[in-house]
Structures are given as C-alpha cells and as structure tokens.
Symmetry: D2
C-alpha cells in the first residue's frame, strides 16, 4: 500500500472517481449493477493497490486512518458517482456493519464476519425496518428472536433490507426480551448468515420502478423459525436499540457527506449543460437569468450544507455521537432537502435530457427521494432536535 499524505487523498480519490468510475456509470444506469460488477471488482483491486481502500478504517485495519472530518472530504468525492463508495468499500450498509462488529463483536465474530467484510470478499446487510411498523419508531418491532437452548429462533418480516441480495450475512434487530421494563431494552442484534435455513429473501422490492439487483437493491426478508447459535448475538442482549442508535449517528453523517458529492456533481452537470446548450441562434441557456439564479442559489446551499456537515463531524470528533445529537438531526433533514432542491434544478436545467438516464441526475432524483425518509424522516429529526433545543428554555 502506497503511503499518502492525508491532504492529497481527496485529490487522488477525485481523480480515481473521474478516471475509473464515471466511465462505468452509463453501463450501470442503463443495464444495472451486475453489468458492471466484474469491472467494478477490478476497480476495487486497483483502489487497494493505490492505497485508497477503506479510508475510514484505522491503518491497523488496513485503512487510511482518516478522522471523520477527513473522511467527509473523501466521501464527498466518492459521492460524485453512484459507484464511488462501493469501489472503495465505504458503502452502506457494510460501513455501518463494519463499525458495529469492530466495536461490539467477539473475536470469533470478527474472524468470521468482519475480516472478509473489510477485505471486500463478502457483503452484508442490516435488517431492521418492518413493513408493518413505522421505521420512524425503532422500538416498534414484531420480529422476535427467542432463546431455545443454545440457539435463537427468529420469526419475523423485514423489508428495505438494502443489499441483502448477494450478501453473506445480515445483522438483524429482533425482540429478545419482550418483558423488559423499558421499551428501549427489548431488542437485540443478531448475526444471521444469509444461507441459514428459515431465512428467505422474498424478493427485491420494486423501488421507483426498479427492483434492482445484487448490491443495488432492497429486499424483503421472511424469517420462519430461523435458528442461529446464541454466539451470534452481537453485543449484549437487550442492547439492540442502543447499538442501532450508535450505528445510525455516524451513518447519518456518512449519508450527508455523500449527498454533498451528489450535489456537487449535479451542480457541475447543470453549469456545464447551461454553458453549452444553445437556446436561440445566438444565446445559451447560461444566459438566462432564471438559470443563473438557480446556479447562485445552489452554490450557496451546497456551500452551507458542506460547512454544516464538517461542523457536525467536528463535534462528533470532540464530543462523540451523543454529544452532537442535535447537529446530526439538523444536517440529516437540512442537507437532504438541499440535495432534493439541487437535483430538481439540475434536471429542470437539462430539460428532457434530465429525465433520461444519460446523466445520473434522474437516478439520484428517484432513489435519493428516500434521503428524506431513511434513517429517520425529516419530521422525526425536526421534532427530535427541537425537543433537545427547547429543554433549556423550559421554565421549571
């Protein structure tokens, strides 16, 4: 592995994205993930060779030892293409599972699940959301894992389990302690190999017209008397909710970082198209004042989004996730809304072309509509942030 100065990494990643990944985009957008998965595997090997692999991990784990704010800058570069994070093994949900098992896994769990995940030999998924329960209220779960001797027997129904198709194992949330006093101490996390009997992928969910495939998909899972040994418990029993919160905090920042990359790419495409598209015999789209106003507004909003994310990342570094709870909620909805606005303007600027898959704009427009929903919808984060903020104003 080449040694890199941290300040050079972002530039190197930017070049890698431009030279190696963006050329694959069209194939991916038109023909799906499997059509590029082989080439992508070569790019992953190249990324390893160039010393860019898993940059967020400590050097001892084969990463680049980037701090959260340093990773933010890299993640933005990766976000410029839908294939970026995958190519460097920074993609959700694996990045979250890696963090989770690193922190809470036993030695055996790390050996069996974490090591091949870090190397990129396998993929994983995270099964929490259930179709019958609101994702916005993570303590409402029907899936149960009851102990039977040395095993857990899992029964339940999950959906929007991203990247389950082709994954080797799932981290699942299930109720293990239904009688616990606090609703926050009823669920646990369990590691379940995907080939376990009783675990069925019902299918990939049709999302915005696309069932997807392999890594780029969201599955519906059914657990029917699905039995795993109790050593597959991840972290302490009853602590699933806490672990999920721990996992989601940085996960939200990771999403925000990636969204800024999307915004920057969309901005680039918008400016480029406006500067080339002739709309009358002697004027360009870029001469239109309304388009110019969009460009200025987008520039202001993207700048503000980046500053907010870096600020939140800095607070996480200094105070931990819990200490930056308000900031994380704020960027989650704030940046997601900027993302949507910027994509909308970029599409409008492109006209009919913006509706096609000849640019990545339409892909992001439809799939990142979920940015305002996943990991807590806007409204949940607004209410949660306000509740914290109002505490210091309450008159006692």
């Amino acid at each position: 592995m080449t040694e890199l100065n941290k300040t050079d990494i972002a530039a190197k990643v930017r070049k890698f994205v431009a030279d190696e990944l963006i050329p694959l985009e069209q194939e991916f957008l038109l023909n799906g993930f499997l059509s590029v998965s082989e080439t992508l595997e070569e790019k992953r090997q190249l990324a390893k060779k160039e010393g860019l692999w898993t940059p967020y991990l400590p050097k001892s784990d084969g990463g680049l030892g980037l701090s959260l704010t340093q990773f933010a800058v890299v993640s933005e570069e990766l976000g410029r293409t839908p294939l970026g994070h995958y190519a460097l093994n920074c993609q959700a949900p694996d990045i979250g599972n890696i963090e989770l098992i690193s922190l809470h896994g036993t030695g055996d769990q790390k050996h069996a699940f974490l090591e091949p995940l870090i190397k990129g030999e396998i993929r994983s998924c995270f099964a929490m959301t259930e179709p019958e329960n609101p994702g916005s209220n993570p303590v409402l779960l029907d899936t149960s894992a009851h102990r039977d001797g040395k095993d857990y027997v899992i029964t339940g129904h999950k959906w929007f389990t991203s990247s389950a198709d082709g994954a080797s194992f799932a981290v699942i949330m299930a109720i293990t302690n239904p009688e616990a006093d606090s609703k926050y101490h009823r669920a646990s996390m369990v590691l379940v190999p995907m080939n376990t009997q009783g675990l069925e992928i019902v299918g990939n969910i049709p999302v915005m017209g696309d069932t997807g495939e392999d890594y780029a998909s969201h599955s519906e899972l059914r657990f029917t008397d699905c039995r795993v040994p109790d050593e597959n418990l991840l972290g302490p029993e009853g602590e699933g909710f806490r672990l999920a919160q721990e996992r989601l905090g940085p996960g939200r920042i990771h999403h925000c970082m990636r969204w800024i990359g999307i915004c920057e790419r969309a901005f680039d495409l918008m400016c480029r198209h406006a500067s080339r598209r002739r709309i009358t015999s002697d004027s360009l789209l870029a001469d239109q004042a309304i388009v110019k106003a969009w460009i200025a507004e987008s520039r202001a909003e993207i700048n503000s989004a980046r500053l907010m994310v870096l600020d939140a990342a800095g607070k996480v570094e200094r105070r931990g996730t819990a200490g930056a709870r308000v900031e994380i909620s704020l960027i989650k909805f704030y940046v997601a809304n900027i993302l949507q606005k910027v994509l909308d303007r970029a599409i409008q600027t492109h006209g009919a072309l913006g509706m096609t898959d000849y640019t990545p704009l339409a892909y992001w427009y439809r799939h990142e509509r979920a940015a305002r929903i996943y990991d807590g919808p806007d409204e949940v984060h607004k209410l949660s942030a306000a509740k914290q903020i109002l505490k210091k104003y309450s008159s006692k």
Copy 2:
C-alpha cells in the same frame, strides 16, 4: 351506445376507473404495459359498450359531445390511474393527433389515419422534439422534408416521441421551407406511417430508469431519406408551427386536467394511509400536526388548481385557445408545481412504502417530474405569460 346524462358521466367514469382499471395498476407498475395490454383491450371494449369511449369527441364521431369543461371533469376521474385515459381512448398523443387530423386532414387522410385511430384500432405518435435542439424553442428544428417530385424526403433525428413503439403512424414536424421569411413559416406537418422505409426507431429512451414499452414509452427516431407521398402533408405547407401551437393549447389543458386526477388520488392515498398507519401504540400518523398541515395545504392547492383549470377551459370555450393564451400558460406551470408538491407530500406520508411501486405514487413522482418540462418548461410559460400581461402596462 347507452345515452348518458352529462352530469352522470363523471360518476360513471369514476366507477369504471375504480372497478376496472385500478385493479390492473399493480400489474402495470410491476411488470410493464405489455403485461396488461390484453386485459386493457377488454376494458376498452367494455368502455365502448358502456358508452364512455372517446368522450371528448362529438357524438357524430362516436363520442359523448362533451364540452372542454365537461371533459375536464371526466379527465380528472381518468387521471386517478395511469391507465385511465388509455382505456377510454383519450390518451396523449392520440387525442392531440385526432384533433389535428379532424381539423386539418383531407378526406383520404381521415379515412386512412383518423378513423382507425378514433376506433382505437391503431395508435399514433407525434415527433417534434429533437435531441440537438431545445424543446422550449419550437422553431429551432434540424429535421427537413424536402420535396422530390411527388414525395417528401425526410432526414432528421427526433426523440421523446412518446408512444412511437407500437404506433402505426407519426405526425412529424419538419422544415419544408427553409427560406421562408418568417421563422414561423418554415416547418410543416407530415403524416408518416411507422413502417415507411428510412424511418427507424433507434430505441426507447431510458427515462427515470425505465425504457418502457409499447404505449408507455418514449422513442428516439431516425429519418434517413425517408420518403412519403406529398399527399401526406397535413395542413398547408409552412403552417406546421401554427398547427403545433393549435395542438398544444388544448393539449396543455388536457395535461392539467389529468394532473388534478393524479393529485386527488395521491391525496386520497395520503389521507387513507395516515388514517390507518399506527406510529406509536396509541396514535396514528393522522394525529401528527405536520401531516395534518400537509393535508390542509394539499386540499387548498388541489382545489385552487381545479378552479384554475375549469376557468381556463371556460375561457377557451368562449374565446378560443389564442384568447386564453395567458390562462393556459399560467395553469401549465401552476398546476404542474402543485402536482409535484402533492406527490412529494403523499410519498413523505407513506415513508418507505411511498418509495415502492406498491402504490402509483412513485410512478407519478418520477414520470410526472416531466410535467414541468414537456409542452414548455415552467420558465418558458412564466416569461410568455408575463410578456402578454406587461403589454398593457408599457408606456408608449
């Protein structure tokens, strides 16, 4: 054909949509247009039998003789499902072509093209937009049709030719008189059977992740020395621009009417989901004030959109399309934006479910993003309406 009181028609159409068409939606959304085309053909026969066929046409042409405002009410009902207009043979682009040929076609043209179209035996398309030219400026066209003896020889490149896949003929816009003094008198409309040599469907354009098929698609066409007899000229030579404007005026109102139907369905789905979805053990999504605010805002906006469309339709009836030019431009952008807002709120209310194709929301969210682009983007209509409005303020 059963005689219907005009005031009953909307109710009958609403029932037809609910009983016959909405049950087909899932199949269409998940498996594409061809998966339902056969059943849909039966529904079309049923619609004929129930006297609902081509309601906007005069009775003499087999329609119901509805006025534009009467049709608006029916069209709203049809708009509640993506299959509605097709089932009653009111779908774009055929409805526009029927109007065009009715007004400007020769006897032979009517016999060959119009009659089977009205009966629903064939489909048609309208090829105007070109990839190299801005759709917002309809006088910028590269496609040419030059006379060669008794023929026109067409050369050019079109895209976003909706429903070309499976169509029997195209109405095309091409430059026939490049030397005309006015740029508004250079283009003509020509009828081109799809099986004419030299006309190639390059492919269906991937739009928001979906190349579509048959009626539900947008094609790229290539004309290479494509020869048609000059009796295929539709209307006078050099009058293509005027005919296109004539066609687009009511076309824009038709879109707006349909969008209101989409809005109403989305509103219905939003209220229904909110009223059933439990978010804590003892409260519903509908108890959330933020969701309630969306419902009230959506209700106000949809009501206003409907009133605006009916008002514009009334003006078209009284003054003709040209006399309602400002109103048409106003509703084109105003209703399209309400459509987008209502769909956005409905999806947000549904959470993850809103991202799936288990409701039609995601379909409309992605495909009707084009509502702010096709038939003139928002910005073009704003500038055009303002220009008209400002005329009376200009100081002379």
Copy 3:
C-alpha cells in the same frame, strides 16, 4: 338612491376608489387617519348619494342587497386602498357587528346600536382577544360578566380591540356561566357603551411601529367593575361562542375578499413600476426575467385566490357558514399566504421605493402580516380543516 344594475356596481366602485379614495392615500399613509377623516366623511356622504353605501346590506336596510359572491367582487375593488371599506361603511369590525346585531339584537338594541351604525353616525368595536390568553383558542377567556341584580358587572382585560378609539360601543365576550358543563357554553356577548364607567382604554397598542389613531388603531381595554344593564346581553346567555363563530365565518371571507383587492393593487403597482423603471441606459426592470417570473407567479396565485374565495362564498350561500367550514379555513390561510408573497414581490420590484410610504405596499406589508394571525392563525386553520377532511377516512 340611484338604482344600479348589480353587474355595474363593481365598475362604479372601482371608479369611486380610483377617483375619490386613492388620492387620499398619501395623506393617510404619511399623516395618519385623523388627517383624512374629515375628507373621508365627505366621501362617505358622496358614496351614499351615489347609492354605494353598505352594499352588503338588504335593500330594506339601505344597502344594495348584494349576495355574498356579488359583494366579494365589490369588496375586492374596495380592498385596492386601505380606505376603501371604510368609505362605504363595509369596514371591519363594524360590518361584523352589524350582522351580529341584525341577527341577534332585540328591538331596543337595534334602535340604540344598529341603526346609527348602519347610517355611519357611530363606530363600534369587538372585544374578544385577551393578552393573557391565546387568541387561537376562543374558549380560554378570563374576562367575566357576573350578574348582579339587573346588571352585569364586567371585569377583565382585552387587547387588539380594533377601532375602539373613537367607537361608541363595544361588543364584548365575557364568561357569564363559568360552571356550564361545556366549555362552549360559558361565554356571552354583551353590548357595552364605551363611555360606561369602569371601561378604560388603556391605550392604543403599538403595532409595527404605529400606535395608530381613531378607526385605524388597536386598543388595550381594561374593565373594572364595569356595570351594564342585563338588557345589553346580545343573544342568549352562554351562546357567546356560537355567536362568535357565526360572526367569524363571514368575517374571514370578507378579509379574503379584501386581500384580493390588495393583491391586485400590488400587482398593478409592480407591473407599472417595472414597465417604467430604467435599470440600464437601454433596458427596463420589466425586461428582467426574474421580475417577469414574479409577475406570472403572482398572476397565477391571485387568480387562484379569487376563484377559491368565490367558490367558498358560493358554498356559504348554498349551505350556510357551517356547511362551508372547511372551505373557509382553507381560504383563510391560503389567501393570506398569497397576499404576503405578492406584497413581498411587489416591494422587491420597487427596491428602496418599496420600503417607503410613497406607495401603500409598505403599509400593507407590515399591517397585513397580521392576516396570517388574526381570526385564527394559519396553523389553527390547517389543523381544523384537516380534522374535518380526515373524518371520512377514519376506519371505524
């Protein structure tokens, strides 16, 4: 009184506003209501002479017998200037008090209070809101009127009693039946002459930098053992809440009608200024695309607001206020927000001039900020409308 064809009235009122009232505006805006009150009195006499007085009243009461929708058109014309409604004796709060006493007053009350009010010899006010209680919750009142023999003795504190300064009497809301089972049956309305001992005008409230004076003011009132004979009870005891609702329904429509007049005037000023203001040596403000977009957006919004108000007024005519409850709530917030947007754009178009009192824009900008607050803030109307709408979706 000249007889007028109803369709001519609006045109006549428009001319009256333009010729008689708009010329007084500058004086009013720069020097306050009293500076124009004498001239305004002459205009009121002129309005009587021209047969325009109290147009909303039945002919038997000296009005023009306009229906609510007919009055809407007239009211819009009056709304074009801050002095319009006053000049024709249609101004709040008197119009509401006239309606109230007409419906619920005894013969004596009508003689003493209503008749001079209709003639414009006196003014009145309506004292409901209290500084210590949220105006948005009209059952929370501290002011009490307890019976003592043949009298009511009133104690309490009111504010935002519009036009109390110079009024002859107040209609007040006070708790007369604190022990009533239903919180909706505790308050009553009482007629209180302003010169009654124990009723003190603490002062006019400084609103947006302006304490105002006479008709154009909002007062703070203090009732201290203020005694009125029990024949001053207006309507049945305990029915104050119901009467207030009855009064507020049409009151809200009246506001909306007036706001449309303000919008139209602002639109006019915006278009006119843009068409005259040179911004470079060879271009006008009206040539700027962003200004044009504002003009088109404003035109669409104002049109939609008018259609919504006329539609709601029609529903009130056909079904009564209670039957149009949802529509009234919808227009209350919908039109108020359009008002604010249109005024904002008109000011921005005027630049520094928009900030001055050389146009009425700044007056409306600051005083009509209250449009989203008085008679129920936006949020209360949204929640209330949604509650009604959701009823039919509730699963029983």
Copy 4:
C-alpha cells in the same frame, strides 16, 4: 482601557448587550431614537471604559485589533439589539466611512473627519443612492460635481442617505468625469460637511410607517450649487466606483454578521415564548409539532448562515475582498433570506404579540425587509455570483 483576551470579548459584549442595551430597547421602540440618545451616550462612555469601543479598529487607532472573523463573533452579539452596534461605534454607515477615510483619506481629512468619528464625537453619512436611478446599478448617477477653480460644485438629488439627520458630514458619490471612457471611471467621492451651503436635508423618508429621527433615519438630500474645496476629494478623481466597491464588500459582511445576531435573538424569543405560552389548560405552544418544526428549521438555517459568514470572512482575510467576491454575493442574499424567514416564524409564534412593538421582532420585520434590497438586491447578487461561477464552464 482594560486588556481583553480576544476569546473573552464576545462574552463580555454579550453581557454588555444584555445588561446595558436591551433594557433600553422598549423606550427606543416606543418613543424613538432621541428618547434614548442621552442614555445611549452614557453607555458609549461605559463601553469605552470597559475597553469595548470600536473593536474592529487596530489597537493603534483605539480599537481591539480584531480580525474580520473575530469581529464577526462580536458583531453577532451586538446584532441582538437594534442599539448594539451604535453603542460600540461599529454602526453603519460610520464604520464604512471610517474604513474608507482610513484607507484613502489625506492627513488633513483624517484629522478633520476621521478622528472625531472614531472617538464618536460626530456621526457621518454616505450619499450614493438616487431616487431617479436604480440603486442596483451604481454607475447610473445624475449627481455631478464639476470643478470650478479650486472647488467642486455639486448638484444633485440623493435619498436613503441613512443617518444624515444629525450627521456632521457626508461622503457623496458624484460624477466628476462624465467624459471618461469607462463608465466605471466617471464618479468620485467627495467629503461634504452637512452645514455646507447648498446642501439641504429635504426630510427624513417615511420608511415602513416611520420617518425616524437622528441616527435612526434615512434622509432625502438636495445639492444645489453646493460648493466644497477640491481638497475634499476622497481618493483619486474618477475612482469613486472602485472605492464604493471596496467599501461595500466588507459592509455586506458586516450586515450579514449583524443579521445573525438578529436571528439568534429572534430564535431566543421564539423558543422562550413557546415555552411559556399556554394554549390549552394543559399544553404549551412549545408542544405543538409545527412550532417545533420551525424551531429546528430555524436552528439549522441560522447555524448554516453563521458558518457561511465566517467562511466568507476567512476568505476575505486570506484573499482580500476581490478574491471573495462570489462568497460575499452568496451570503448577502442567502443570509438576508434566512433572516426574513426566521423573523417571520418568530412573529407567527408570538401571534398578536409578535405584531406589537413590545418585542423587537416587528421592528426588524419591517426595517430589515430592506436587507434583501440595500447594498444590492438579492437578484443582483445572484446574477453576479452566477456570472463568476459560470466563467470556468464557458467553452472556448
């Protein structure tokens, strides 16, 4: 003068604002600037004594030697009250004039004009905007200053000359070189004592219902053969435009900093009121989800505004005003719009109270509507920023 650690200054200023200035606000809001000017003079002496005077100036000039980013933090604290900047002699337009004369004044000019200004013994104004010309296009000026022997003779008409009432001198922009090739080299700046013959304050402009007085006013000025010696020329002849740009760059940042203080105060008032206001017998305004959403949105927006301003200030420090031109344009419109949104929500939260002058919200609501107009309206900054941004996309 007490020495202060720079990190302590903001805290000290915050305390000064809270203890000394906010208690004066009510008097100022209700009775105008002159009613507090004497007390304010004492506060200014106190500020000097406490070592807080002119913090943005170098220590050699009696200031605290704060960098622009350091001053930003202090300026935010001062912005919490309308009296803050004045109390520490950081108020526009004097701060801009101080900077201007410091950079471009002759020794004599500094002695006569700058020194007493820094000490706070006199006030000044800046006369650029003209009623007949758009403020958005600073090269369009009618005021002329033609040389006559050793004098300039000034003729012209200015308005919105802030704080002219009570000022000792004006810095004026006038055309001195009408024949210059470039329109950017026609104007010059001239120092004009207010008591010069031929300079008349026509009056204070009624702005949002308020003509104001003394420091808190905007005047209309008339220059009629107003003669000043040519040594009153500030900077080189023909360089007025360049100097104005130089002055406006930091001026815009100063405004943005101040607006953040306003936002923070409004946010504080909103949270405090919501936490105390009972809206039913057992719930607070702060329990309302819609209010909570406003709080979270405002928090996110204010945070983003502050980060943007600090980022722009840092760029000015590193690259100069010209090098941060895009950033300055972006914050000018971005922060001004956030200011307006936050004030609007704070007022809506306060209900009727928000309309009164019992809080500073209504004052800012009306006077800071100008934030989107003065020093370049939003639209001018958007177009200007976009123009710069698009340069690198232009295809050559």
